[in-house]
């Protein structure tokens, strides 16, 4: 039914993939990358607005457009930024904008849970791991502070192409298919009681699943502790003479 929209959707997917390709770190890159990326994101935003406009939307969803463009642009930057810390920070942007999108369509409980769990807990874990495992390279130049495996992506052409094919297929299917009709009035009526309804459903229909999720979280916590700990020697005879910061460094990983 939307045969001309499909090509527009392919165009959006191609632009996004091109943006990722341009942005992926490569050895010996010129420094105009940021501007090219910015232009691509702007073009993407324009296309997204056009696409949404064509998909039976009015012009009164400015916040939706802004959130959508920020979300996709932030995701591009997560994937392409050469420094992992900035990737993690851009991922916070993606989480916040995705939560905004979810809240905008009425799923307020899930949106707030997303902010708490992702932007609060998971991101702190990521930042801790980045701090624990980031080496400090020799600072003899401007780009020397970026590690060499962050400076060159693995086969950027082919991965961007694969991503383009995947995105174009998914977006094309979304645009092309005849989805069941959507009742906006009923949806906004349902959104008014969202947290109440979700809580009631969680505690009645999904009570066993909630318990299982709790068990799963505890098992994962114990597993993570068991995997990531260091084996200290028993008795502590050889670590007795070391200063406190040096004790863990002389233990071989098991």
């Amino acid at each position: 039914m939307n045969s001309q929209l499909v090509y527009l959707a392919y165009g959006v997917a191609a632009l996004v993939a091109l943006g990722v390709y341009v942005g992926l770190p490569k050895e010996g890159r010129c420094s105009r990358r940021g501007w090219v990326l910015f232009a691509l994101i702007a073009a993407l935003g324009g296309l997204a607005v056009l696409l949404n406009r064509l998909l039976s939307l009015g012009a009164d969803h400015i916040s939706f457009y802004v959130l959508a463009v920020l979300c996709v642009g932030g995701a591009i930057r997560v994937v392409t930024h050469p420094r992992p810390v900035y990737s993690a920070l851009f991922f916070v942007l993606v989480v916040l904008t995705a939560a905004g999108l979810i809240i905008l369509v009425g799923a307020e409980f899930l949106g707030i849970a997303l902010v708490i769990v992702y932007a609060g807990a998971v991101l702190v874990t990521y930042v801790f791991v980045i701090m624990l495992s980031q080496q400090s390279p020799a600072l003899d130049g401007e780009s020397a502070s970026v590690l060499n495996y962050d400076r060159s992506a693995r086969r950027p052409v082919w991965t961007s192409l694969a991503g383009f094919v995947l995105m174009a297929t998914l977006v094309g299917v979304v645009v092309e298919r005849d989805w069941p009709s959507w009742d906006e009035a009923a949806a906004s009526e349902m959104a008014k009681q969202n947290t109440l309804a979700v809580g009631r459903m969680l505690m009645t229909d999904y009570a066993v699943s909630v318990e299982l999720a709790g068990v799963l979280l505890m098992v994962a916590m114990i597993g993570a502790i068991a995997v990531a700990r260091k084996r200290l020697p028993r008795g502590g005879r050889d670590s007795a003479g070391l200063p406190p910061g040096e004790i863990g460094k002389h233990v071989p990983p098991y």
Partner: protein, 100 residues
């Protein structure tokens, strides 16, 4: 309220971007971040589809996907820390011998 199809497009783009990042980056932490981006796409899609059918099942499944994502982040990052201790680098190419 925006149409669910538009949300599905955002979800599809997020998922594809995560796939690109997982395939192309060499830093293991960024690879895991890309999987989290994929999770975001799936979540947005679940909410949109639940909305389209006019019930809360999509949001419920999204909540449990959130739990699984948290578990995955904890365990995966523990494994990343262990691998970093073993080879001293975060480069995924350092585990080339696992290709077989």
């Amino acid at each position: 309220m925006p149409h669910p199809n538009t949300l599905m497009i955002i979800g599809a783009l997020l998922f594809g971007l995560g796939v690109i990042g997982f395939l192309s980056r060499r830093n293991m932490i960024v690879m895991f971040l890309s999987t989290e981006v994929m999770f975001q796409g799936v979540l947005v899609n679940l909410v949109a589809m639940g909305m389209m059918h006019g019930n809360l099942q999509g949001q419920m499944l999204g909540l449990f996907v959130l739990v699984i994502a948290a578990v995955e982040a904890g365990l995966g990052l523990a494994i990343v820390v262990m691998m970093y201790r073993r080879v001293g680098t975060l480069d995924a190419e350092a585990w080339r011998q696992m290709r077989g």
